[in-house]
Symmetry: C2
DNA sequence: ATAAATAAGTTTATTTTATAAACCAAATTA
DNA sequence: TAATTTGGTTTATAAAATAAACTTATTTAT
């Protein structure tokens, strides 16, 4: 009946992050922050969670002299995202007679 | 960009409840419990939250001598559910080039 | 030169939420 | 009549989301 929803993706902010990253090859921390309108702290925590699960990869480099965190989705993450969408459909297919 | 997701609906169990109720005119507590595989306690709490928000209506009657809780979705709830689906789309439309 | 403000985050603390365990009352079965 | 089941509710706990506070370094203003 209802397929379980990956709790890591069933979160507004993490879903937004994954949505951004699946459409872009890479994105920097401030860009994601701006697009999601998240606070830096919240974003940092959620990026770490996604990275710990292997759904994204974080590259901490420098842009000139300032720190710069580049985020990329992994193959695992992309697969999980697509699976999540499939699972969601089991809740959304409204067959109102 | 990303539309906010109604926190009342962005919950696996509550979403399942709403999904069931939007397709059925009414459903009894034990049926929802069975379909969602939720514990009675969790289901009771989540039904109350949806009822408090006016998304569903709970009718406490008797079936013979046993108590029987009948659940129905309201117009408000149906509208919220549809709005939630629309909002979700802003996260799911993957335009991978 | 140095003080104030900004950038880019991280860490920690707080609030909220989900979930199950424990409980209750009545009815049924052994 | 004792134990079990049904149909829940209430309460306690575990997990999660979120923001506030903090850090380090860099600009910008005075």
């Amino acid at each position: 009946m209802f397929q379980p929803l990956d709790p890591l993706l069933h979160s507004e902010l993490r879903l937004a992050i994954m949505s951004l990253l699946i459409s872009a090859d890479e994105a920097e921390f401030p860009y994601i922050k701006e697009q999601t309108r998240a606070t830096a702290g919240n974003l940092s925590v959620q990026l770490d969670k996604l990275a710990s699960a292997g759904y994204i990869q974080l590259e901490k480099t420098f842009k000139g002299k300032r720190p710069c965190t580049i985020c990329r989705i992994t193959a695992t993450g992309e697969q999980a995202f697509r699976a999540y969408i499939e699972a969601l459909k089991s809740y959304l297919e409204v067959s109102k007679s």
